[in-house]
Symmetry: C2
Subunit: 111 residues, 2 copies
């Protein structure tokens, strides 16, 4: 998967995996891999800054927890985050439709 392709869609992915339940960063990375059947291996250097960005813009809220001696920062969707997720889904549908229609192979003179 070309890393550049992810640009501008990362927020949508993160918001989406947090829709069902709150998760911490490491678990989010695993969830992304599972949901994509292994296709998405998003590095920590991408996910952690992105989560902080989403918290800063009010889409996520976080709390620290300690489980088995390890510190976790658990993120959950805020109301604004749910609205943003809906907007991102809508934007994705439009985007995919537009790119898909431009990319559609030319049927040629016969078609």
């Amino acid at each position: 998967m070309n890393p550049d392709a992810l640009r501008g869609h990362m927020d949508a992915l993160l918001l989406s995996v947090l829709e069902r339940e709150p998760l911490h960063g490491y678990a989010i990375i695993e969830a992304l891999q599972e949901r994509s059947e292994g296709a998405l291996s998003v590095p920590t250097g991408t996910v952690y800054p992105a989560l902080r960005r989403l918290e800063r813009t009010g889409c996520l809220a976080s709390e620290w927890a300690t489980v088995g001696g390890r510190r976790r920062r658990t993120y959950r969707l805020t109301d604004a985050g749910r609205k943003q997720l809906a907007a991102e889904r809508s934007a994705w549908r439009e985007f995919a439709g537009v790119i898909g229609s431009v990319l559609r192979p030319d049927p040629g003179p016969a078609g």
Copy 2:
């Protein structure tokens, strides 16, 4: 349309509009708008550098022409460009599938 979303898909779009026939930059921008029903307004500052990049990597070849007193640089797909286009289409299908499956709304406990 969020500009960042286009990242990594611009090459595919350019290659795709050049599949049917060779075009010059300005006409490519118009073709992109037509094929997307107005959704894609790609600025010249994006298209011209991208075309040169694709020429440099061997996907496109260009020739100068003068039509009605105006100079045009007409780009056409090379064999490598056609192969690249096929690869880009395949990559897009995979990408759209992956993002779509992650973004798919959670059916919830009842589903």
